[in-house]
């Protein structure tokens, strides 16, 4: 409904579990689906299966991934760069995102402002998003207009013009974005400082939008330098999903992106988080009306399993665990804390397991009316403890698995979602093939494995707790509240 277009930081929080759980696809999913429910009443033709992902590697190192979906004469094109906050260092936080803003300015070929006109004239919806691990640009359009969008995307990969005057204005826009997104939102501020405390040396400690002081010190040269270093075909993935011919798309990609040379990329240091040796607590006092709690346990990610650092099943067990706690209205948090004891106005759990580096299992909560924060905190931690001492029931496990399977089908309804999934998996190093592993991986999880990962990872030594304590919003209340 709202037509305002935001340069979005959409997956700012990384891929939340609910995103992935309801979004993964697989060419074999329907087969699994039928097998899981032990029936096969849905006997459609071939189109009941999701089409495969076509893959090509251009000579310059750019990867091209194409997936056909002929339901409607539309397509989405996305260009993904493996660059985001987690590649930045202190003092330049937010640079990847600021560069994303600059990408909507002029190129050598198209003056500033022309880009948006061109995109508009082909009826495309376009935008971009930056996360900790990647930056992506996209157009959603009528499939027969694909080539025009590809030309534009290829042009701005290498030919962007950095006008200092434009940067000066755009960085002000970014600062407004920061005020709007974070500074005036108590729960966002809590999340920002929570991450900064939970991670000591991992780059995941920095906010995607950047610290305000870093934005203030940012120069057009910084953005240009970042662009030159990272916006190169061998650091990019082109994803196209829709009513397209994969071979033609690949030929088109060669024509427009194939002209660029591959460039050496800077070395990416490991920056593995040092092991946490005890609980970390912070308190934020802000003008606000609602108390808010955020707790996180350090966990391995899907990437850790891929690298062989943990057992293959562990991340899947963590994923299912998050959904046992918070996978809908019948999950434990809703059933026990929101209804049952009625001590939470809201409570959530999410496994941040889909980045290029390990992250956390995060539990959040807002106390119900007249309930002390300490009561809610204890109840949330008690729910975690129960996972360590009692096996989850068959019916709970079955429910989560049914949701994962259904979610996989539902998400195929959106070509944008499919493209985003393919691009993000590829960009964090899991590879798009991971889509085929996800559903079987979840279905194989046992109650014992959930207990095992709860015992191993959801421990106090690896816990960070951030609490928001509301201060009065206005002076009148202030005076009343003063003691």
């Amino acid at each position: 409904m709202q037509q305002n277009k935001n340069r979005s930081l959409s997956p700012v929080r990384g891929l939340r579990s609910s995103f992935l759980i309801s979004s993964l696809t697989s060419i074999t999913a329907l087969t699994i689906l039928s097998a899981f429910f032990m029936l096969n009443t849905y006997a459609e033709e071939d189109n009941s299966k999701s089409s495969p992902v076509y893959e090509a590697l251009l000579d310059n190192g750019m990867k091209v991934l194409v997936k056909q979906d002929k339901r409607a004469p539309v397509a989405v094109i996305q260009v993904w760069y493996k660059i985001g906050t987690s590649y930045e260092h202190e003092g330049i936080t937010g640079l990847s995102h600021a560069l994303e803003h600059m990408m909507f300015k002029g190129t050598k070929k198209h003056k500033s402002g022309e880009f948006e006109k061109l995109v508009s004239a082909i009826g495309a919806r376009n935008n971009a998003f930056t996360s900790q691990d990647y930056t992506a640009y996209y157009e959603v359009l009528a499939a027969d207009k694909l080539e025009a969008a590809m030309e534009i995307e290829a042009d701005r990969m290498r030919n962007l013009v950095f006008d200092p005057e434009e940067f000066k204005k755009e960085i002000e826009v970014v600062k407004e974005e920061r005020r709007w997104r974070t500074d005036d939102k108590p729960s966002s501020l809590l999340r920002e400082q929570f991450n900064a405390v939970a991670f000591l040396n991992s780059p995941y400690r920095a906010p995607v939008i950047g610290w305000m002081v870093d934005l203030e010190g940012m120069k057009v040269e910084d953005a240009y330098d970042w662009y030159k270093k990272w916006y190169t075909p061998n650091n990019a993935t082109l994803v196209v999903v829709g009513d397209v011919d994969p071979e033609k798309v690949i030929a088109m990609a060669k024509k427009y992106f194939g002209i660029y040379k591959s460039n050496p990329l800077p070395e990416v240091k490991l920056r593995t988080e040092v092991e946490q040796k005890g609980v970390r607590n912070i308190v934020l006092k802000l003008p606000a009306k609602l108390a808010n709690l955020r707790m996180g346990f350090k966990t391995p990610g899907m990437i850790s399993a891929k690298k062989g650092e943990v057992e293959k099943w562990e991340p899947y067990a963590l994923e299912v665990l998050a959904n046992i706690l918070d996978g809908g209205d019948s999950a434990r948090f809703a059933k026990h804390l929101v209804r049952g004891k009625a001590i939470a106005a809201g409570a959530g759990a999410g496994y941040y397991g889909y980045g290029r580096m390990p992250n956390m299992m995060v539990v959040t909560g807002t106390p119900a009316k007249d309930v002390e924060m300490s009561v809610l905190k204890k109840a949330l931690l008690d729910e975690i403890e129960i996972l360590k001492t009692e096996l989850v029931s068959d019916s709970e496990l079955k429910r989560v698995k049914a949701q994962v399977i259904a979610g996989e089908v539902y998400e195929r309804d959106s070509i944008q979602h499919m493209a985003t999934l393919i691009g993000s998996l590829e960009s964090v190093g899991l590879g798009h093939q991971y889509m085929d592993e996800y559903v079987p991986g979840v279905l194989a999880v046992t109650a014992q494995q959930i207990q095992d990962v709860a015992k191993k990872y959801l421990v106090e030594e690896h816990l960070t707790v951030a609490e928001l304590i509301p201060l009065p919003l206005n002076e009148k209340e202030d005076k009343k509240g003063a003691k």
Binding site: Q2, R71, R179, D184, A342, V409, S414
Partner: protein
């Protein structure tokens, strides 16, 4: 095979006519008990989306603000002998998604399920129960009331929510659209399950409802589902029921008004507006097309260019019409750091005033048409998009060929028609301006700012 034929057909249309929208084919009928049904067959994915809507939004709350939302919130808290846990379990164990909601005009009950026989049957059965016999249990209601109060607290710490509330209140005065959707502390505390039951009995009836169905079910299945739901709506001796009384006409604003609300934020949230247009409005296309270039098209819009691109004053700036049963708001919005508030408002007003006087250039109009027409296929690209449209068409009684004729109608709007519509419908000297943010100012100052 089917999909092959369909895409070949689509390719053919595109070859002959770039404007072809391949809009989904809507089938419409009325059940014996008077429920209007809108159905689109989309066979490709094994999904069914169902949406039951009623004219039962907050515009019907009367003096019980928040009632409509509490009714939708309570539907799955108990029905046909099942409690909230059992209902949630029943939906989710098949992988189905159940949701409800209410806006100003309407309330809705949604279901998304796989069309695998067993899953679909089970999900539809529980959906039907919730629609047929919600129990509105006291204990759940007391808890929900407390949650609603927490929700109101959340609104109070959010400058954008505060602005929105104040905006509607002052835009609509004593009109039902002014009623705060989530109620007030007082109105929520005064609600009882008796109120909810009475509201449900009056408004959740066949004659006041529409059922939209989209997905991999055939016409016969769609009819069976519709008949079951329609029958469920007869329970409790409701009969076919009555259509809700029409919403009164919206009175235009008579003078300019500026309201400043102090708030400890770094930005000011600004909303400027007036009553706009309604669904099926004779000026709908002229206003929609005109606004596209003014503030409805993102970066190519005038507001975005002047406020954000040229001056870096705001991250987001937009204008839009929200057509409703009666005139919904026309509004312009932005957020900017406190010290820039007056400058941003000044620029926004200048852009609006110039546009209202002169309208778009021929070139701008052409660009807007290209964007709207070229992007039209995106609007019905997914099942979710399709059900959104057919539910809207059904609810507001728009013609069934609404989607088929949309681009044609946009194409036919002339620059003169846009200029004329904006002159008649937008009154720049009688706008409501709401500003949330900054320190409290003395009364006289606030007056002066007008």
């Amino acid at each position: 095979m089917k999909s092959l034929i369909r895409s070949a057909f689509i390719a053919l249309i595109i070859a002959f006519n770039q404007l072809a929208s391949a809009a989904p084919k809507i089938e419409h009928w009325v059940t014996d008990s008077g429920l209007r049904v809108y159905y689109v067959n989309v066979p490709e994915l094994p999904i069914l989306d169902a949406r039951l809507t009623f004219a039962a939004g907050s515009a019907y709350d009367g003096d019980k603000a928040g009632l409509s939302g509490m009714v939708t919130g309570m539907l799955d808290k108990g029905a046909a002998g099942l409690n909230a846990d059992q209902i949630a379990e029943a939906f989710e164990s098949t992988g189905a998604n159940f949701s409800t909601g209410a806006a100003r005009d309407m309330a809705w009950i949604n279901l998304r399920t796989l069309t695998l026989k067993e899953q679909m049957q089970s999900a539809l059965e529980i959906w039907q129960k919730v629609i047929e016999k919600p129990a509105f249990p006291e204990a759940d209601f007391e808890r929900l009331k407390k949650q609603a109060l927490v929700g109101l607290q959340a609104e109070k710490q959010n400058p954008s929510s505060i602005a929105d509330k104040v905006f509607y209140k002052n835009l609509y005065g004593d009109h039902p659209y002014a009623s705060p959707q989530n109620g007030t502390e007082k109105s929520i505390a005064a609600l009882s399950t008796k109120d909810l039951k009475a509201f449900f009995k009056q408004y959740y009836v066949n004659k006041n409802g529409q059922l939209a169905l989209v997905g991999a079910i055939d016409r016969q299945q769609a009819e069976e589902i519709a008949n079951k739901i329609s029958k469920a709506l007869l329970s409790d001796n409701k009969g076919e029921g009555k259509k809700a009384a029409p919403i009164p006409e919206v009175k235009p604003l008579t003078e300019a008004k500026t309201i400043r609300i102090p708030f400890p934020s770094t930005q000011a949230h600004v909303m400027i507006g007036q009553p706009g247009d309604k669904r099926g409005d004779k000026d709908y296309f002229a206003l929609y097309l005109g606004n596209h270039g003014l503030g409805g098209s993102g970066f190519t819009s005038r507001l975005m260019k002047e406020i954000r691109v040229k001056r870096g004053l705001s991250y987001s700036v937009y204008s839009y019409f929200i057509p409703m049963q009666e005139n919904g708001p026309f509004m312009l919005g932005l957020q900017t750091k406190l010290s820039q508030t007056d400058e941003a408002i000044k620029v926004a007003r200048e852009v609006l005033e110039k546009f209202q006087k002169e309208g778009p250039s021929e070139e701008d109009l052409k660009a807007s048409k290209l964007n709207i027409v070229g992007g039209f296929p995106l609007r019905t690209a997914s099942n979710k998009d399709i059900i959104g449209y057919i539910a809207m068409i059904g609810f507001y009684g728009l013609p069934l060929d609404y989607m088929d004729t949309f681009t044609d109608k946009v194409e036919k709007v002339s620059r003169d028609q846009v200029v004329d519509a904006f002159k008649r419908r937008v009154h720049v000297d009688k706008m409501l301006t709401v500003i949330v943010g900054g320190k409290a100012v003395e009364k006289e100052d606030a007056q002066e700012k007008q």
